[in-house]
């Protein structure tokens, strides 16, 4: 049936780029207003321009500007996050697919998968570092630990989502389990899987940053955040700059996954 719903009338018609700029501007104004109204000093909330200025100043005397330092650290952390995301996404996809097909394994193992996520990553991270003898690999492993969970759960849910009659249809064709998986369950699960990938993309960055701390890795954003934490009283804007950089890495990964999603699901129209 073809149904055309009346579009809600928008108060303002703006291009996406302009609306993004407007939102950033209003957030910045809110930041400065809060600082003004509550009379917060630099240590609680530095001025935005102080943070901006910090990027161009050297992080330490005679060193390169903070921006260069943070960019390098961000790229270093991104590497760990990306590998962790890949491992976690692959593991989650495989687990979710297996659980969707073998309900015995689902019933017996899913509680442990859930339990794994209630243990704070801070408690697990040092163990992983020791097991892997302090190698860099502990960073992607810990990032993967955070990312596999949403992918597992959403893959499982997505693989179970097809209409029971669609499953019957495949049965009427005497389709193999494998054919039903690739021609029906997997494409039907893709929207749910991409939702999980977007969540996993941001948590992989968090995982990589946290993993750098017990590993004693200095080159990444984790190292930078720890370092600037210690000098917060004298230079709070540097920690804020590092946080901003970490957020940017997360957003970058999120946007990258969204672009792939838009391409992969270009033919599927979801009901608004």
């Amino acid at each position: 049936m073809e149904v055309s719903l009346p579009r809600p009338r928008r108060l303002l018609r703006l291009s996406p780029a302009i609306s993004v700029i407007l939102i950033i501007l209003s957030l910045a104004i809110a930041w400065e207003l809060i600082k003004l109204i509550f009379n917060l000093d630099k240590r609680v909330l530095p001025h935005l321009w102080e943070i901006a200025a910090a990027f161009s100043q050297p992080a330490r005397r005679g060193g390169p500007p903070l921006f260069n330092v943070l960019l390098e650290a961000a790229l270093y952390t991104l590497r760990g996050a990306l590998l962790g995301f890949a491992i976690g996404a692959a593991l989650g996809f495989i687990l979710g697919t297996v659980f969707a097909h073998v309900s015995l394994l689902e019933r017996s193992l899913v509680p442990y998968v859930v339990a794994s996520q209630t243990v704070p990553i801070l408690a697990i991270a040092p163990m992983v570092v020791i097991w892997l003898r302090g190698s860099w690999l502990s960073v992607p492993v810990i990032a993967a630990y955070l990312t596999f969970f949403p992918v597992t759960i959403n893959t499982l849910r997505g693989m179970r989502s097809p209409d029971p009659r669609a499953v019957e249809l495949m049965r009427s064709y005497a389709a193999s389990t494998w054919q039903t998986l690739w021609k029906l369950r997997f494409p039907a699960a893709l929207p749910a899987i991409f939702t999980a990938f977007k969540i996993a993309a941001t948590s992989s960055v968090v995982g990589a940053i946290i993993a750098e701390l017990p590993s004693g890795i200095q080159q990444g954003l984790g190292g930078a955040i720890l370092n600037f934490n210690q000098y917060y009283i004298t230079g709070p804007e540097r920690l804020w700059a590092a946080i901003l950089m970490a957020a940017l890495v997360g957003i970058l990964l999120f946007v990258a996954v969204s672009l792939v999603e838009r391409f992969a699901l270009r033919n599927i129209v979801r009901a608004a």
Binding site: M1, E2, D163, R165, A166, E168, L169, M170, R171, S172, Y173, A174, A175, Q179, K183, L184, P187, L190, N267, I268, V269
Partner: protein
């Protein structure tokens, strides 16, 4: 000629084997011959969908024998000897119309060129040429159901199982689809088993109407429909059509009374 479908004392219980909670099918005996158009009609819960699914080996009978083309139903399903159409079109939204029709051929490993050729041929049969590259959501409900019929016929099965395929359509579209289905049935020479709860639809389409009753689901009467083919709008307005509609309606009422007897006992 050997029957296409043969059901011998088929029972289907739901619930524990020693004390079943529902008798979905009780002692079903039916033979369906080549090129017949059989309608299964009855109130909801009379097991007509279950009966259709036992023929397609989508539901296993608790006892009795189901053969399709002289083979056990399972073997016939594995050999892909029937096509299935549900009440909803159940099209895959990520596939184009043509790719949806090609789906069973893909599963059977038919080469790509042959697949496309047959897919286009089937879309011509259901008069949807020009919509090959559309996606299901771009089509109306009636058109989607026609795609589902094309898909069921794509591998030229001798038997077509249809579970209330036009139940979700409006009356006008439904009558048009009825006429179209009869044309396709005659062009393709398939045997059709058709579940419905519309009396005029059953009479208009069928060569025989199988009347069923609920609790327990069983066949109470089989009414041959002697209207000549090809049938068209005039058929619907002929006196004989109305007589047959009345006959089926009375058979349904009678089977309803029988059910009350059982419940009273």
């Amino acid at each position: 000629m050997a029957p296409v479908v043969s059901l011998k004392s088929v029972h289907k219980f739901f619930g524990p084997a020693e004390r079943p909670t529902t008798i979905a099918l009780k002692d079903i005996n039916l033979e369906i011959h080549p090129c017949e158009f059989i309608s299964l009609i009855g109130p909801s819960g009379c097991g007509k969908s279950t009966l259709l699914r036992t023929i397609g080996d989508l539901v296993e009978p608790s006892s009795g024998e189901v053969t399709v083309n002289s083979k056990p139903a399972r073997q016939a399903r594995v050999n892909r000897e029937y096509g299935m159409v549900f009440q909803a079109p159940v099209l895959f939204e990520w596939r184009t119309v043509l790719k949806n029709v090609e789906l069973p051929l893909e599963i059977m490993g038919v080469p790509r060129a042959e697949r496309t050729r047959r897919g286009r041929e089937m879309l011509r049969l259901v008069e949807l040429q020009g919509f090959e590259r559309h996606y299901p959501w771009q089509l109306s409900g009636g058109m989607q159901q026609r795609v589902a019929i094309a898909r069921a016929l794509a591998f030229r099965p001798a038997l077509l199982l249809m579970d209330e395929p036009f139940g979700a359509l409006d009356e006008i579209t439904r009558e048009r689809m009825n006429a179209e289905l009869l044309r396709i049935w005659q062009e393709t020479q398939t045997t059709v088993v058709f579940v419905t709860h519309s009396i005029p639809e059953a009479v208009f389409l069928s060569s025989r109407v199988v009347v069923m009753s609920a609790r327990p689901g069983r066949i109470t009467e089989i009414i041959p429909i002697d209207l000549p083919y090809p049938r068209n709008v005039e058929t619907r307005e002929s006196p004989r059509f109305f007589e047959l509609v009345t006959l089926v309606r009375e058979a349904l009422r009678k089977s309803e009374e029988m059910r009350e007897d059982i419940e009273l006992r």
